[in-house]
Symmetry: C2
Subunit: 321 residues, 2 copies
Amino acid sequence: MDFVVGVDLGGTNIVTGLLDREGNLKRTCKLPTEAHLGSSYVIEKIGKIIQSLLAEEQIDKSRVLAAGVGNPGFVDPVRGVSLFSANLGWKDVPVADKLRQQLEIPVFLDNDVRMYALGEALQGAGKGHDVVLGITLGTGIAAAIVDRGKLFYGGGYMAGEIGHIPMEGESTPCPCGVRGCLETVASATGIIRQVRAAIEGGRSSILQTWFESEDLSRITAADVTRAYDAGDPVAIEVLSHTGRLLGKGLSYAVSLLSPDAIVIGGGVAFAGERLFAPMKEELEHSVYHGYWERISIRTAELLDDAGVIGSALYAKQRMES
Amino acid sequence: MDFVVGVDLGGTNIVTGLLDREGNLKRTCKLPTEAHLGSSYVIEKIGKIIQSLLAEEQIDKSRVLAAGVGNPGFVDPVRGVSLFSANLGWKDVPVADKLRQQLEIPVFLDNDVRMYALGEALQGAGKGHDVVLGITLGTGIAAAIVDRGKLFYGGGYMAGEIGHIPMEGESTPCPCGVRGCLETVASATGIIRQVRAAIEGGRSSILQTWFESEDLSRITAADVTRAYDAGDPVAIEVLSHTGRLLGKGLSYAVSLLSPDAIVIGGGVAFAGERLFAPMKEELEHSVYHGYWERISIRTAELLDDAGVIGSALYAKQRMES
């Protein structure tokens, strides 16, 4: 068996790739998901993409060990079922079974953030570390734990919800039902909300000039980063506060899980040290120094490929276990 | 192989037991550690206790698979070395090697709280649950995670330090170097400190009558429980605050680890619902309801035997892996 297939299935795009025996990503393909056309359509599309990739590389199916799919939302990895995905609009879809029938190769399904973390842990910024906490800061916050090469799932496959820890002093209602969750602050949505609240509360910001005649709802997290670099006090205050709160949230994870490395990805990670400097300062002061001295904090390295590589390696692990 | 030996090595006592093939604790023996006589003395004593137990039961050494030892403090389970134990006054003691030479059977060493949690997870209050968070509330707080029958160690074997998470609103310096750690509040030491601070701050308590002419430093956590039952407002306030803070700390662990069961042991657990009612209330409000609905919160069942059973089962696991 020479190849494994990895699929990173998102609400917007499907990224598919082929991993060779040495773990090199041989070829990738990115196509729109077209989730509005329904689960059967999307799953068939994934199957066709995989078949095309193999045909283009002139690789016979018999040389493919298995395929792994990273699916957003709640997943039952044992049965290979997408239990609930808000991004895709799916409920109880037997993704693995359907793809297996179409492709006639073994197919395994798991959560997309777990696949992302596994990819970064095994071949990205977490490589060489025993215990890796992978975290993505995007529209929301998601995290997964890789323990000596294997995912730590927790009961009901529900571990890693650092984004839903309520933070002292925060009170924004979270869709999860709790108030002041870390995700309501340390995410793209949270950063934008804080900036808009400050401006609407009477603070003046360069962002008002940039979005002068337009709706403030068009502000993105990247705009806040630009405003920070322009010396905007609101942007500086918001990113500093967000960083400190993230550091506090990470301190809980460090004391409980003792990761050797924390790998941070997602769009908000592009804020870099503007966010990470206050985050690290808070983290250092909130954990026993023995943790701080041994931990490595890194930004993700594989970017778009992390999910594909992680899904492929996951499929390989499932075949070997 | 019909038997495994388990040893719970504490600063005060050594509890040793013999587990049969069915996992039944056949015989136990509790003797003082006499740690002041040094590590060589204590290790030889453990060896002699094991030899006596076997002789009394007329069990030949050839029928013993291995022995496991739960050691307080930092341990390197791979090399079987007690790295640092404040309770025993030990530093870099090769416990497993020494006992192995004496007994001529395989010996494995791990941390005592991990052994306690493993015992409760496999044969006690956590039995039947996939992911178990075991926590002991004693002089300090310690915790360990059992994931589908196996310990989750974290990097550097340092996972589970829920007691060293700094809690908002708390500021008591902790020996770990951080201020306001959960352990400074939700432990016997923490409860007593809070009660004394309240009294010394001018609050009146029934404990002043009970310890009238004596030093308030003689108050124990059990006395605070008795005062609570006598309707003492200071005791009620302290146990309620402690319970709420414990619930908050546990909420971090629940969102990150998603345990199916939390098993609480240690002397302070005898406070029961006086502590657990406010703890559960806080926990329920601090986590996504999906966690709350599936989690089982139990007090430890095996008491003194948990460490012995856990150590024996751990030795069995190490032999099988």
